[in-house]
Symmetry: C2
Subunit: 202 residues, 2 copies
């Protein structure tokens, strides 16, 4: 059994999750992002195996039907399938790397049923501030902003199911919090499956 | 109920605990050391209320008999009494500070029965390395070294009861680990007494 961590990270759109994770990965070794499988077409610039594993619907279904492996979590969004394969996570953990999954609250709930992840939710200081940030991007139209705010409200209702909550008020603090959670969890003593704590190897 | 942490820190003598804690306290605000009560006489340079609360035996017994307050943990060592009072911890937590208790494995076990501490054990990389460090101090005679190593062996048997284990191999890493544990625990979502998670305040 690998001691590598499985970190589930969720955040409403506009909370700065991508910036925070990229900064933490830049200065903390031993972390990798899990690459999801998807049935949607690659967009310009997207590379197979880097941004996604782009697969046919039949391949996706094949993985989904593998038991007990297959997908740790999967979902259909706008007619396309997305999923995190067990093999994708396992291969990194076997290599001793902690794996980060960037998934929403429904995906996180699925992973909790199958694995023992460390779960982190990144929240905005308030919905008012989130709206201000989304408008600040200038690339979002009114409809998109309304959809994102509505999704944020729904996702924030699930904060209590997460192990850790990072409120992204100051970016530097949020980066340090996520980095600290990873370092701390590496020091955390896991219980063995029989409930017995593990011993220091004298 | 205060959200401030109660951090229990244990380590065999010679593991670098004092150096690690002092460095963390130097660069992380909101941390205080709990000052213990003791019935022993002050040594030259020791200040009442700073190094210990120096009290008479009757005062110590009076605190010990207070229920349900009194001492979080206490012990008799070489005929002198030592204890951490509930009031000492409470006053700092009410002020919003996280409180660090520097106590041994027996003290930690007592605190776990009375409170909900975050517990951290600092271990040497090995007993061989601990012996090398104790000899390196040059102030310890052979008898003292033998006693310290024997105590270390006993204390290390209790590592599994702690939430976190920091192996002090490189000092800088150990300092960062303890600092990270504190920052992470400040982000950790506590369960309310009824078992319900707390909610993000929208």
């Amino acid at each position: 059994m690998s001691n590598a961590l499985l970190l589930v990270l969720s955040a409403p759109s506009g909370c700065g999750k991508t910036t925070i994770v990229n900064r933490v990965m830049h200065n903390l070794p031993g972390l990798v992002f899990s690459v999801s499988h998807t049935t949607r077409q690659p967009r310009p610039g997207e590379v197979n195996g880097v941004h996604y594993h782009f697969v046919e619907g039949a391949v996706f279904s094949g993985i989904r039907n593998q038991q007990p492996t297959g997908f740790l979590e999967w979902a259909e969004v706008h007619g396309n399938m997305y999923g995190t394969s067990v093999e994708e996570v396992d291969k990194h953990q076997r290599a001793g790397c902690d794996v980060i999954l960037d998934i929403d609250v429904q995906g996180a709930a699925q992973v909790r049923l199958r694995a023992n992840p460390v779960t982190v939710f990144i929240a905005p200081p308030s919905l008012v501030e989130l709206e201000r940030r989304l408008r600040g991007r200038a690339t979002e139209n009114e409809t998109t902003i309304a959809v994102r705010l509505n999704n944020a409200r729904k996702e924030l209702a699930c904060v209590g199911a997460y192990d850790y909550l990072i409120v992204n008020d100051r970016l530097e603090d949020a980066v340090e919090s996520l980095r600290s959670i990873l370092i701390a969890e590496r020091c955390r003593q896991r219980r063995a499956p029989d409930g017995q704590p593990m011993q220091w190897g004298v």
